[in-house]
């Protein structure tokens, strides 16, 4: 009997499929299946009820009650689709507009707050925040939807630049374990966000190869302390350093709309003062985003000093866009930077630098993602020996280890080829760069974050004198405030 039953069960979920009678009728067992079917049907388990009734009908050709129940389940299954279920399917397929319409139909007919919640989420996804907010507010009234509704209300508030309100909504949503870590992270971010955001960073560390000297060579002499190689001269190039940085971001309309950004940074070597870096940048841009898609355009002017002297002045135009597709977030970025090196000896490096990249990011778990990026750049400098084309891939990872602890990592490989034959090195220079970096951040208190980072580069070249490697471990503290 069991083999026959298992065979019958292969089509068991379809109440409309014809029932094949078992070779050995068993009305007693059929009655047990029928009772089980009745219970399951009463509990709302249409699939399980169908399985039970089909087994009953197969074991007892005279079981009219099970056949009637199957017929009824068949009619229900063939009835016009429930718009709520249709909406769920559309939502699954990211058809936000159609899904919102389906949920809206249910909400208007029944006042269903589950439909209101999902309609609100669909509207948020489309960027229709004004439509989303009242729907989410109404869904918030129902306790089982409260946490998710608050989570999306937080996202709406965050997009509208209301950081304080967003933060408290995320904090409220974080009581739900299924949202906890992500909501807590967003609450932290929102607390630090706003129409006006001010941030400050102080850090200190060690650079094992400040002058980018080749392995084993010493270019700076003097003190000890480097880690660049095994040769005796390799210990001369390392130096301790400290850095300070500050930025101000003003977004009068929130995430979408115009913005102004300004900042300055300073990186001082403890010993090799001729390698001190300083810089300031001012930028103006505009961001638009809707339905998971977005674009941003920006103009920036920056000025840098090197060793205390004017070094580089540049104007940059940049544009970027992103969109979802195939479970990934795709993005592309392009920037053109007009560079003017201020020292007469470096004037040959001046020119137009183009940079472009495409990126595919795969989210995993909540708030985590891994991305693959391919970038290319073209530096059209005044001299052929300083002009180059560079390209290569990199992988990025962001992991939310706990609500207060985050990890970021990046690793990449790039290939650079210069345009012209360089008589000094006796070759047309080609380089390869292996880069890697890792950053850990831990939130100490509201607005305060401790940072630990390690950056490394290995440069390989067809000119051995231009090969080098370096490591830069840093420890720092950052502060950010949003108003």
């Amino acid at each position: 009997m069991m083999g026959a039953l298992l065979g019958l069960l292969l089509v068991a979920a379809d109440p409309c499929a014809p029932v094949t009678l078992a070779t050995a009728p068993d009305p007693e067992t059929a009655a047990v299946y029928r009772k089980t079917g009745d219970d399951e049907r009463a509990a709302g388990g249409a699939d399980t009820a169908t399985v039970a009734y089909r087994n009953a009908a197969a074991l007892d050709s005279g079981d009219a009650a099970s056949r009637r129940a199957l017929q009824s389940l068949c009619v229900e299954a063939r009835a016009p689709s429930d718009p709520f279920q249709v909406g769920l399917g559309q939502m699954e397929a990211h058809e936000w507009r159609s899904a919102a319409a389906s949920f809206g139909q249910v909400r208007r007919a029944d006042g269903d707050l589950s439909a209101a919640l999902l309609e609100g989420i669909c509207n948020y996804q489309m960027g229709h925040d004004a439509a989303a907010e009242p729907l989410l507010r109404s869904a918030e009234a129902r306790p089982e939807h409260r946490d998710l509704a608050r989570f999306y209300l937080g996202l709406v508030a965050l997009r509208g630049g209301e950081a304080a309100r967003a933060s408290s909504l995320f904090a409220a949503a974080a009581v739900n374990p299924t949202l906890g870590t992500l909501a807590a992270d967003l609450s932290r971010l929102a607390r630090l966000d706003g129409r006006l955001v001010v941030s400050f960073l102080a850090e200190s560390g060690f650079d094992t190869n400040v002058p980018l000297a080749p392995r084993g060579a010493s270019t700076t002499g003097g003190a000890t302390g480097g880690m660049t190689g095994g040769g005796p001269g390799g210990t001369m190039n390392g130096d301790g350093l400290y850095g300070l940085g500050a930025t101000v971001l003003f977004r009068p309309s929130g995430l979408n709309g115009p913005y102004l950004r300004g900042g300055g940074s300073l990186r001082q070597q403890l010993r090799l003062g001729t390698y001190d870096l300083g810089g300031a940048e001012a930028a103006a841009g505009w961001q638009v985003s809707r339905e998971g898609r977005g674009a941003i355009a920006e103009y920036a002017y920056s000025f840098r000093t090197f060793g205390g002297s004017p070094f580089l002045s540049s104007h940059r135009l940049a544009a970027a866009g992103w969109m979802p597709g195939g479970g990934l977030t795709w993005s592309a970025r392009y920037a053109a930077q007009l560079e003017d090196y201020r020292s007469p000896t470096l004037a040959g490096f001046s020119g137009l630098l183009h940079r472009a990249e495409v990126r595919a990011a795969l989210p995993f778990a909540m708030g985590n993602w891994v991305a693959v990026v391919y970038g290319a750049s073209r530096d059209a400098a005044k001299l052929g020996i300083t002009s180059f084309t560079e390209h290569g891939p990199r992988v990025e990872l962001r992991a939310l280890l706990s609500p207060r602890l985050r990890l970021g990592a990046v690793a990449g490989l790039s290939f650079r080829a210069y345009d012209a034959f360089d008589t000094v090195i006796g070759a047309t220079r080609t380089d390869r760069y292996l880069d890697a970096a890792a950053l850990t951040e831990y939130d100490l208190a509201s607005g305060w974050t401790a940072r630990l980072s390690l950056e490394g580069r290995k440069a390989l070249s067809n000119a051995p004198a231009l090969e080098y490697d370096k490591l830069v471990p840093m420890i720092g503290i950052a502060w950010q405030m949003g108003l």
């Binding site: 009997m1 069991m2 039953l5 298992l6 069960l9 068991a12 979920a13 067992t29 047990v32 299946y33 009772k35 089980t36 079917g37 219970d39 399951e40 509990a43 388990g45 699939d47 399980t48 169908t50 399985v51 039970a52 087994n55 306790p143 089982e144 409260r146 409220a172 974080a174 009581v175 739900n176 374990p177 299924t178 906890g180 870590t181 807590a184 609500p403």
Partner: protein, 203 residues
């Protein structure tokens, strides 16, 4: 599961039921292994009716898999104590977690971690950490209201085990508030208690 785990469990318990019940227990286990949880549930229910009481907990595990956690809590017969098998207890905790009975889930998970295999143990530990984070903050009055509503609804729909679990959850959460919001009511199983109001006013 761990289907293999369920089969092993079934193998160990087949002698407990009658011959007909055993046949349905085995059929349920096969369906479960092949992820046909609806069919598995039906077979376990039939086995139960034919005199295999142990089929009840396998039916409960199938209900968890079918996304019916409230029915699973009822089918497990409660959320107290430690069951004979860590795997079934893990599913008991999942049912509690999905029914938002976080305190109960936490209590069960505490007994699972050391008894289950490494994979389930790790999942249990992760879920437990999630619950601990969720329970860290002081519960809102509205949250306690919701649990008491579920308690009352459970009683009204003939699910006394589930109703009691919601009330116990409400009692634990209200006990963590300085104002003891509706605490006595929760301790009395969701019924009105003198001196307690549902308005959030201190008693």
């Amino acid at each position: 599961m761990t289907t293999s785990g369920l089969l092993v469990l079934l193998g160990l318990t087949l002698s407990a039921g009658g011959a007909g019940a055993d046949e349905h227990l085995l059929a349920g286990a096969r369906h479960f292994r092949e992820a046909r949880y609806a069919a598995a549930l039906v077979e376990f229910r039939v086995a139960q009716r034919l005199g295999a009481p142990e089929a009840t907990r396998y039916a409960a595990v199938s209900l968890v898999k079918l996304g019916r956690p409230e029915e699973a809590v009822e089918a497990f017969g409660g959320l107290d104590g430690q069951g004979p098998d860590a795997l079934v207890d893990y599913y008991r905790a999942v049912a509690a977690f999905e029914a938002r009975l976080y305190v109960a889930a936490h209590r069960i998970l505490a007994t699972v971690a050391d008894r289950a295999g490494p994979r389930i143990g790790e999942q249990a530990a992760r879920m437990r950490a999630d619950v601990e984070r969720a329970l860290h903050a002081e519960p809102a009055a509205a949250t306690i209201d919701w649990y008491l509503e579920q308690c009352s609804a459970g009683r009204g729909s003939g699910r006394p085990v589930l109703a009691a679990a919601y009330c116990r959850e409400a009692a634990f959460l209200s006990g963590r508030r300085p104002d003891g919001y509706r605490h006595a009511e929760a301790l009395h199983g969701g019924g009105p208690a003198s001196g307690q109001q549902g308005s959030g006013v201190k008693p």
